[in-house]
Each structure stands twice: as C-alpha cells, then as structure tokens.
Subunit: 321 residues, 2 copies
C-alpha cells in the first residue's frame, strides 16, 4: 500500500481531513497494511472518549448525533463520528453514505464524519470500527461518537467498543421492534426517549424505567432515562452533561479502564486470528493437498473434524510450516 | 460431557425427540464436546435439504414456517425447524422461546422444533445453527427449515447455510425497515409477499420484481416473487412446489453443491479457529507473562501489534508451545 503513516498522521493532527480519511481507508482495507497503520498509530491512541449511540431504525439517531456533535464542538472539542449504515446490496455502498443531514457538520474543520457500511468490511465490521476509532483518536479527536442501528449481533458488538453507550428509543414502536430492541438494553449506560414531543413519551420513559430497575439492582448503579427532542435541540445540553458526568463517575469507579481493557483484549484476539488466518490457514486451505481432502469431506469419505485435530497437532508441534 | 453419541443418534433416528434435543444441546455447548458430537455425526450428514426463511420483524415468518412444515409433513417428510429468536437480555433465553404458535406441530412425532437465542451461543450463533442443522440431518430429517429475522449481519450469515433461501416481506413497511431489508435481498433465491390480503400487496410485489431485475441479470436466473397469505394457508402449496422446483434446478446447475461446499469451507474455518483458540490463544492469554505485557499495552509502553507478530513467528517456528 505504501502509505506514509507518519506524514499522514502529522497532517491529520493539524486538521487535514484528507489525511485522516486515507488512514481510515488503510485500516478498512484490512490485512497486513491495516496492521502496519494501526501499529504505527498505537502510541498516539488512548486519549479520546468514545461514545456509542444505538437504537432501532427510525429513532432519530443521526439527528441526535448531529446535535451532540454540535454541542461539544461549541465547547471547543474536536469530534470524530463513525456512522455505521445498513449496506445496500446492489451498490455495495452504505445506503445513507452521504449523510445528507450532517452536511453542515462536515464543513466544520473540527468534525470528521466517516460512514461505514455493515457489510464488505474485509476484516469484519467490528474490527473496521475499532480501527477507525483508533485512527480518529490518534489524529487528535477529543471525542469519538459511534452511531449504529441496534438490531443485530454484529451491530451490538460494534457499540461495545464505546466507553459510554446511549440507547435511543421513541414513543410508539410496535411490539416486534420492541422485542429486538430488548437485545440492546443490556449494553446501555443511559437511555434516551427521543421525539419526546410525540404523545406517549412519558409512558415510554416510565416503561423503560421499570424495565431497567432489575438491571440497575444488578449493576448497582442508576441508569438515567432522558427525554429529548433532538430535531428541536430540546434536552441535548442536559443529555451531554449527563453523559459527561456518567463518564466521570465510570472513570472514578474504574469501569472505563475495565471496558477499555476488555476492548483491547478483544482487539488482540481478532489480531491474532487474522494473522493466524493469513500466515497459517490460508496457505493450508489453498494447497492442492487440501483440495483432495476437501473433496473427501464433501463425499463423507473423510472426517473434517479429525482432520482439524491432526492439523492442530502439526501446528503445535511445529511440523506444519 | 460424556454423551453417548451413538446411542443417542440411534434413538433420535427412531424418532426420540429427547435424544435429538440432547445432541443439539451438546453442540450448542460449544468447545471440545461439541466437536466430538459433530465428528461422530459427520458420516450421517449431507442428506437433508435445508431451507432458510428470513425477513423483517412482523412479516409473519413463524406462521409461514408453520404452514410449510405442515405441507411437507403431509407429504410424509420428516421435518426439523431451527428458529432463531431475538434473545431477551434479562432472562438470557429466547423471547419467543416456547414458540406458542407451533405447539400443534411439536406434538407431531415427525417434526422437531428447536428455538435458539441470538446471543449466548458459546461458539457463536452461526456455528450453533450449522451444528443444529447437522444434528437434525444426521437424525433423519429430510428437510430442515431455518427461520430467522433478517436484520443483522450475524442473522444473515445464519441463513447463508441454507440450500434455498426465501425472503419474506409484507405490504406497507416503513422506509427505515425497507433500508435494512435491502441488506437481505442478495441472499434470497425467492421472495414472498406475505399477508397478501392486505392492501398494497400487488404493488409491493411489483416493486420487488423491479428491484430484483438487476440482480436477475447478474445471476442469470429468475427469482420468483410469490403472493402468500400464510395465516389463511393461501399460496402455501404453490410456494412449497416453487421451492422444490428451485431446489431441483439449483441442484442440476451445480449450485447446491457449490453452496454446500462454501458452507463446509466456512465450517472448517470456524473449527480451525476454535481449536486454535482453545489450544494456543487461551493458554497464552491466561499466562502470567501475558498479564505483564497487557498492562504495558494499556499504558502504551509496548505495542500489541508488534507483540502479535512476534507470537506468530514463534508459532510458525514451533517455538511457542
């Protein structure tokens, strides 16, 4: 790939968005090149606060992210946004890729917005997202917001890299959506009822509070529920301040460190598996000898489970490569 | 674990559901025990046809699965159903776990229904689902139906193990859902507009047809779009017959074999990574030496990317273990 990582980083830290974009693209490409970029950036990471925003489709996450970014921008912070969009299968790109609603933010030199499709990330969505967060962190963002629709396992994993996670809902969602949404409750640190000018907002909030009471007992801390009307900028300041206080108290109790440590552990596992895939599995699975074995598996003449055991023995005994 | 796999398999093949259930539980538990079960069952697999049903929440997938199962059951086939449900975060179990609507099916000795939560599968949802399909196949099911809500990356991967995939939709879904649903178009072999007695069904079907025309050009085959009202059993016979014909033509063109081969390759990759994790990564990551390295990573005194490279060198040179 031949990216001059140090030169790009220096320019990016001075606010050059094109350099930031090139570093993220390098990471998104996956493989050895991505590892080189991330390895070089590593000493510069660990300073940004990472906020995750998730919720069902139609809950107004993009608008809310937009308003949060503007609030913190006004406090003088540099902001990075990683927006995970459902991917269009036909174009291959992110459906909301141009993020029309954020266009005025992208004109601000202190805000960097990156959209990422849910599919087609070579090393997996989760690792592309962690990579982008690390790049933004190294490039000098004080705050990185990850925004993702909270409907699937991978999407939930993505938000797991955040220090503080806000789960957004709206009044009057159907039962079915409710059921799916349930899957994202346990990852939330605070909860937002958006579009609070709609009828039923108070009821949604109190339903949320009662659903959360069990979880609060278990975690031994309160999980705030806030009413917000993001489109009218109502409740945004309070939401931001609540997040800041939450971050501080989670840092004090050691929970932020604990979460970052879990994230790094997960990153390491992915790294090791990627390297193992590249250096060990791929050469094996593309060898002519394997093709013969594979045909025997398909025909049920040989057992792939036994074959894997044999191969692992060879690896651990240093006999394979 | 000490499961007597052969004894359980023999009973399961004779129609004993408890034995089938125990084999699936063994597989769901993941790890070495799961591999033992799957390895023993391997010679008995490869006969069942596997059908995937997916679509957005509220599209009536469960009702449809129920009717399909009844149709094929009436043809004398033995049926297995793997229903992937969104998991409740508080109970840890599948929200629709009891599958109330299928209760009359579960009384039928020739139908085996298994619900699986989207989370908490130790070896990952995808591998738990493949495992369950393999068990049902080995236990003598002629047909296995996988039903899953098509909203997330993992959920989509699950349906990828099927020979033939039906994507279900309904008239009048909102735009947001439409966007997510788009992500599942490319995995469909045929498309169903369910609840076709609702207004707008014909329009939904023709919208579908026009969305699919590009894809059809690329794949060089037609992708049927059918109108069904599953709750009234309308269109079910035609749907089943279309699926059967589709399976036959896909088998003739070699596509079924190609898909099963891709599935096995994926399974092998997962197997290898699991074994590698168990035998190599876990011992490393739980060693006291690693804890020191890890603290240095967190403090940015050492670089985890370089560390991974070193470790891989040791592995490939047989110096690690």
């Amino acid at each position: 790939m031949g990216l001059d990582v140090e030169a790009l980083l220096e320019k990016a830290q001075q606010g050059d968005k094109r350099s930031t974009a090139r570093l993220i693209s390098g990471v998104e490409a996956g493989g050895e090149a991505a590892e080189t970029v991330l390895s070089r950036l590593w000493p510069h990471t660990g300073r940004a606060k990472v906020i995750g925003i998730t919720g069902p489709p139609g809950s107004g996450k993009s608008t809310m992210t937009d308003k949060l970014a503007k609030y913190w921008r006004a406090q003088g912070l540099r902001i990075g946004i990683v927006a995970i969009d459902p991917t269009s299968p036909f174009s291959g790109g992110a459906i909301l890729g141009d993020r029309v609603r954020m266009s005025d933010l992208t004109l601000d030199a202190g805000v960097f917005v990156r959209s990422m499709g849910t599919r087609g990330q070579l090393g997996g969505l989760s690792s592309a997202c962690v990579g982008a967060v690390n790049v933004l962190d190294a490039c000098g963002c004080d705050l990185v917001i990850i925004e993702t629709v909270g409907v699937g396992q991978s999407e939930i994993e993505v938000v797991n890299v955040a220090d503080v996670v806000a789960v957004v809902t709206v009044p009057g969602l159907g039962d079915d959506v409710q059921a799916i949404k349930a899957g994202i409750f346990e990852i939330g640190d605070l909860f937002v009822v958006n579009k609070a000018d709609r009828p039923g907002a108070d009821r949604t909030a109190s339903e949320l509070r009662s659903m959360l009471s069990l979880e609060e007992d278990e975690r031994k801390r309160r999980m705030p529920v806030l009413l917000v009307t993001a489109a009218q900028n109502e409740g945004i300041e309070k939401l931001c301040q609540t997040m800041e206080r939450l971050f501080d108290s989670m840092q004090e109790s050691g929970m932020i460190e604990q979460r970052r440590s879990a994230r790094l552990r997960q990153e390491l596992l992915t790294l090791i598996q990627d390297e193992f895939g590249r250096r060990v599995i791929n050469p094996v699975l593309t060898s002519p000898a394997f093709q013969e074995d594979f045909d025997n598996f398909l025909a049920r003449r040989e057992n792939p489970y036994l074959w894997v055991g044999d191969m692992m023995n060879k690896i651990t005994e240093g006999r394979l490569l």
